[in-house]
Amino acid sequence: MNQEDVVFHGRLGALYQLAKEGKIATTLQGSHTRPCKFWTAMKILSGIRGAVVIAHGPSGCAFGVKQAYKLTNSRNSGSPYESVLTTDMNMENIIFGGEKSLKGAIKEVDEKYHPDVIVVATSCAAGIIGDNVDSVVDKMRSSVAAELMPVHCEGFAGEYRSGFDLVFRQIVDFMDKPTPEMRQKLSKSVNIVGAKMGPERTEVDTDTKELTRLVTGIGAEINAVIAGHCSLEELKRAPSAAVNCALCLDLGYAIGKEMESRFKTPMNSSILPYGIAATEHWLREAAKHMGLDEQAEAFMKSEYQAIREEYEEARSFLAGKVALIEGHDAVKSLSVAHMVERDFGMRAIVYNFHPWSAEARETSIDYLLETGLDPEVLITKGTLALGKYESMKETEAEMLAFLGELDPMQTVYFGSSLAFPHIPLVDLNAILNRPRFGYRGALKVAQCIITSLKYAFRGRSSLARRMVFPQGAGFSTGASLTPKLAQDLPDCTVYASARRRGQCMMN
């Protein structure tokens, strides 16, 4: 390919170093808006049952997240209608302050909803005018039945993931100090941490369900999925669980470390359990804190045995082939790279891993590098251009130029079905490709690759191409998460447009 189109081609470790030294721009362009800190904080808070959030700000902030997260919960999981309250800040509040209004709102919400917890989440407006939210909350504690918690998550106050980290750290405040009795009671229990949003789809074998099955398979129990529909009671006793296992290490790290430091609850750090190597690491680390090592080994053996024949056949077919992995979904792309290299013996190339992610996803990158995996990364110019880089002509042309150097019969593309490489494509977001975690997931992914190769002769749908690249379309911008998109994509934050219901972006 044309070297002028290449921004970076090398190992992840080298990219990471360049980002740390400020030698590669890590700024996200103006067309690439992610949910703000308020939204990501709300996403975690939406996963706590019995909690009502008062968004201290104008109504739009509450309305936006409510449509995106709460309506989605109801639509896909049959959960009842959930409210998100707002103080509906107006011009008068902006000029004279909104503390009085907030005080009134806390009282009203306590009386109207009788929630276990009232969280006051600050929006930009409240943050800029300097309402003393902490003081209002402190003064109201004795006047209401609910537990109160202020969360300072103004949209401007940090990058999007800072909202996840902030709330994950802060909800540790709800937790009770472990007692010997409770520790004993939960000595065979696990918290899955780093999950987000409410109840998951009920009819599909999702990844969280697979992890739950694996945990119970070794003889343990799940105390709570934090914060995926967990109750205040589950949160309170969470520190007494034997171990915290991260669903997504990147997001689970903040709460895991906080609980470790405050309550000495051990943390099982591992990358997303894609593939057998990562799954076994995940399970062994969990088991050792519960004295279930033998059971875990026996269970892992039986799990492997159940897939062995098909899996080994698949693996021998895949060894030596190349996987080009779309890097837009940073943590997932690194986890998939880990799986295809460690488990399938393939060569992984992470394509268009935005340098911004090198900064934003430090935890996962550190882990990967520590384990000795340092995948190849290719970043082309289109990734850094103003526009929608996952599905735009510029990156498409660059990818095709790069693929020109690879054997199409030996290469697969892990990415969105909205891209059109001339090599077989594996879209792990597709609902039928779940679960992706664990042994069953490893086999499923391997089979997906083989199916793609087998049907490579079909080519891609011309209808799909016309949908993504209509004639005469110019540069378009990256779409933000909208209620419509959230409804289509129930359980994870997504940024790309036009993905349909049931697909998941594990950001």
């Binding site: 808006t33 103080t87 800029i128 251009a385």
Partner: protein, 466 residues
Amino acid sequence: MHDELKFDNCAHSSDPLVGCALEGVASVFAGIRGATVVIHSPQGCAATVAAAFDQHEVDFTKRKIACTRLFESDIVMGATRKLEDLIRQSDAKFGNPVLFVVGTCAADIIGEDLDGICRNLQPEIKGKLIPVTAGGFRGDAYAGIEMGLEALLPFVKKSETKIPNSVNLIAPHASVNPTWWADLDWIQGLLEGFGIKVVSRIVRDTTLAELDKAGEASANILLSHDAGYGFAKKFERLHGVPLILSDIPLPVGLGNTSRWLKALASHFNAEGLADFMITNGEEKVADILRRRALMMIPRYRNCRVAVSGDATFAISSLRMLFQELEMIPEAVLVRSKSKEARALLAKECADLGISPKIVFGADGYKIQQVLKDIPVDAVLGSAWETYMAKEEGIRIAFDAFTPTNRDVYVDRAYFGYDGMVNLLEIIGNDWERALRSRDIQWDLYEERRTVLPTKETERVGTAKIA
């Protein structure tokens, strides 16, 4: 004759079903063809703007949106330079004829001088820069629509001469019909049938050329009871174009469609044609229902219903529900709260002789309370009301309004005669789904067969096995 409900514990907190002013403003700009929107805000506000583009179904290949992504240092130090750079970049990259530069809460409060920035930068920018300060705290989405529409006024050229028999159609998008443009298309087709020219649609894929000529129209028609009144009045003052038909409900159901057509015809001296359209339209509806839904009215007769949506449909559908379907509207829950909508609803209730409970500015809590306290058999609303109804044990919810859980691929008008059939199709299907037996307790039949082995129970048992 109506009874507007009052609620305790709602003075300082609400559970909003309507977005903020920014969403309203953006929903106007999203309807302008070839518009770039540069948002001066933290990145979360881009989701609100994107939701407005969703409302127009502008697909991802046509969205030209950029955001300055303000962070803490920008709030403290100001971000003029950042905005200027993004405007330059967007102008060069997207090449659109107009760039709306929108300041949201953060930019609004810290006092970013959008007017000054745009004025200074304009000479080097190819597109026309339109600065709009749209802090979400300036009102709800309906207030935002008024703000956005007002920002379009400078595009309208003064014209002393008017095109006879011509109109502008205003605020069609302030509507809870999930495919509201079908209503707009129905109205436009109808007007063409009357020989009335549509000068501009403000807004739906509107060109700047359309806006330029909007002052030449001889009348304005508002297609919403929720927003656009302020704009229409200002338009009338500035351009001498009168607002017509604003004192009657929009054409939903037979009665209101007939009324609306007659009023239109009276304004444009085309009564004969209106009578012809009404006769044909009503016959069409009756014919379809006779063949496909003969039991529709017997089925719904005296069904106590709550209607929850915007003023446009909550008010306009009352006559159809009460007089044509023989339902009893027990509650009317309206998300907006304009004085014009209040007056219109009062007039409509008086005319129909009904006195439902009324809520303006309805939020989630108020709707829940009404559904809890006022006994109804069914709710006509959106997905929100469907979930609330389920919780309150109301079995029948007609999911017709935005946001809906219905996947709608083919555009469906709710206005006019076909529109009425479209609405009835939703009502009919949701009624069926609600009452269809899905949870037959076969074990009870089994038990009965064992205990009472009559011929009848034997048949039931056989059916189960089959």
